[in-house]
Every structure is written in structure tokens, then in C-alpha cells.
Symmetry: C2
């Protein structure tokens, strides 16, 4: 999505440790019109896949998931990272190593929110090592549902997670793929 690449170049910041900061429009602050355009692009990429539900992990994936689900006409559900007092004890779960947070956490989804036979699209803001997507794939599989694919706003191609998932046969749709950020210079794939 050319508009996203242009915006990343204009407003993104490369921080030490391989972090791409796009909080000003995509993450902690969200340009709604732009978000909805991205949601529409994701929905079009999966419109023939019979998606019945969009799934993400809290927190920064929720806005994307809402936008994509709006155009797909299906509900959203999100896996939580922390157990709260109203969480169901009856959950599917997976362990995920977070690149941004530098730690491993458990993601959990109550069994009542994902049913056997559902066709689930995974949506997230970033795809780096692919650990969140792998965790969600495990939950979807444990539930007897099918992952039809995964969509991300920004894939960090140089971290390899996206290509690994493609080799495993999962349809991956990333709106922008950053293949390198060496010396602060952002290079997109196929450009």
C-alpha cells in the first residue's frame, strides 16, 4: 500500500534496537481515515476466504482488527495478555515472545469466543518474528478452527517471521514490508 510506505517514510522513526516507531499515526495515535483505508485493503485481500471472525492480540492490534472486520462484516475478538478478575478460566492459550517488550507472555482467549469450524483472519499492526501470529495459530488450531491467513500493517521483512509463515503455507498480507532499516534508512520490499 503505497500510501502507507509514504507515510512511514515521512513520519516513522528508526530507534535503536530495530524498533520502527510509527506511533504518531498508526499505533498509539491513530489517523482514523487512514486506519479505515488499511482495513478496507485487508478486507479486499481476504474477501474470497470465507472469513467468519477477525482475531488479534491486545492492545495495539485492536484498532486494525476493528477496521478490517468492519469491511469484512464479521465480529472481532482479541486475546488478552493479562488475566483479569472477569476472565473465564476456560481458555485457549499460547506463549509468545515479544520483540518490542523483550519478554515472554501468555495470551489467552476464552473458549466461548472461538468455535470449531470458524474461518479466522489474524490481524495485527506489526509482523516481525511472527510470534504473536504463531501463538494465535496455535489457539485457532486448538479450537478446531482454521486460520485463513494473517494481515499486518507493517512487516519487518528482515526479521523473517513473515517469510517463515509463508513457507509454512499461511497466506500473509502485509500493507508495507520493510526489508532493511540499516543506518536509519528504511527500504521497502519490491521498490
Amino acid at each position: 500500500m503505497k500510501a502507507l510506505e509514504e507515510r512511514i517514510l515521512a513520519e516513522g522513526e528508526v530507534l535503536p534496537g530495530g524498533v520502527l516507531k510509527v506511533g504518531s499515526f498508526l499505533n498509539q495515535q491513530i489517523d482514523i481515515d487512514f486506519l479505515m483505508q488499511m482495513g478496507k485493503d485487508i478486507a479486499q485481500a481476504f474477501e474470497d476466504c470465507g472469513v467468519t471472525k477477525v482475531i488479534t492480540v491486545e492492545a495495539s492490534g485492536i484498532a486494525f482488527a476493528v477496521a478490517a472486520a468492519y469491511y469484512l462484516g464479521v465480529p472481532v475478538t482479541f486475546a488478552k495478555k493479562n488475566k483479569t478478575s472477569n476472565a473465564s478460566p476456560d481458555v485457549y492459550s499460547a506463549y509468545v515472545d515479544s520483540f518490542t517488550h523483550g519478554k515472554t507472555y501468555e495470551i489467552m482467549l476464552p473458549k466461548e469466543y472461538i468455535k470449531p469450524g470458524e474461518r479466522v483472519l489474524i490481524v495485527d499492526d506489526f509482523l516481525a518474528c511472527g510470534n504473536a501470529i504463531k501463538g494465535l495459530c496455535k489457539i485457532i488450531s486448538d479450537a478446531g478452527a482454521t486460520a485463513v491467513g494473517a494481515a499486518a500493517a507493517i512487516e519487518k521483512g528482515f526479521q523473517g517471521g513473515g517469510d517463515e509463515l509463508r513457507r509454512d503455507g499461511l497466506k500473509i498480507h502485509s500493507l508495507a514490508i520493510v526489508d532493511s532499516m540499516d543506518d536509519g534508512k528504511i527500504v521497502f520490499r519490491n521498490n
Copy 2:
């Protein structure tokens, strides 16, 4: 909003400790059409307030904030609860006691995402004791911006936070106000 009250009665569960579980359509799993209807209702309630930004706290407030901001035509920003490796050190912050989580946490918003003179609408899924809204009001005030009001999907009237904020002069728009849940029976205000 009558449709929300009906849905709470049909699908909500009253759990021990004053917890109202509406995860099946409003929280951890989201009915998108219904979410957008609620966003439109919130936008209409504040359409004459010159709102320049919608603000919420991660995670469950994000979907509502996106829906309301879509109809208001303004950006969304959300305060984070946990410091991550790409968080700016230059933040506004406040401490918030969480009813659901049974603990106190710090909410943080980078200074770059809220500017003096902005007219900010606070949006959240639940309004109970009002602590999240009070924390966001402090952040908005610290930034030299103005809180034009707060909108919640469900206000737990019996916990008093909404009425306290109204007495303090803040415009509060709750789509459904639960005035009691004694013995598991949900009673709405003005019904």
C-alpha cells in the same frame, strides 16, 4: 440506547463482586455493526463540542474510541498502562485504581500526542468509579487541553463515578446506566 440495554439483558452475566460480563458482544468479542452504532450515538452526543481528538486507555476502550472517532472525523490516541521499549520518556501520566483488575496502575501518554488547546473527548467501555476518566482528565489538564466530556458504553450507576463527574461539571454520556445488579437482576436508570 435501548438496543444496548436489551442486549445487556439478553447476553450480560452478573458475576460475583459487582462484575458485569458483556464480553460476548462488547468487550473481548465485538459485534462490529453494533460497535459502530454505539460510536455514532457517542459522536452525535458531542457533535457540537468542537472535539479535536478522542482519547481512551488501552485495551478494551480502543474499539469504542475508534468507532466514535470515525463518526467525529478526528484522530484517536490511547494512554498505555505498561512502559514498552518504544515508549517516549516524555509523557504525561496519572495513577488509576482499577475496579476490574483490583490494583493501581500508571497510565501514560507521550506529550507529542496531546497539545495545548485541543478539545478532547474521553471514551471508554465501562464507567464505574470513574478513576480512568479522572486520570485521563488529569493528563488532559496537564497538557493544557480541555476535556469536553466523557462517553461510556456502560455506566455502573451504583458505583457513583458518573454522578460524581457530573457534579464536577463534566458532560457524561453513557449509552446504558445500570443502577443495580442486586441478586443478579439488572435495573437500568430511567426505566
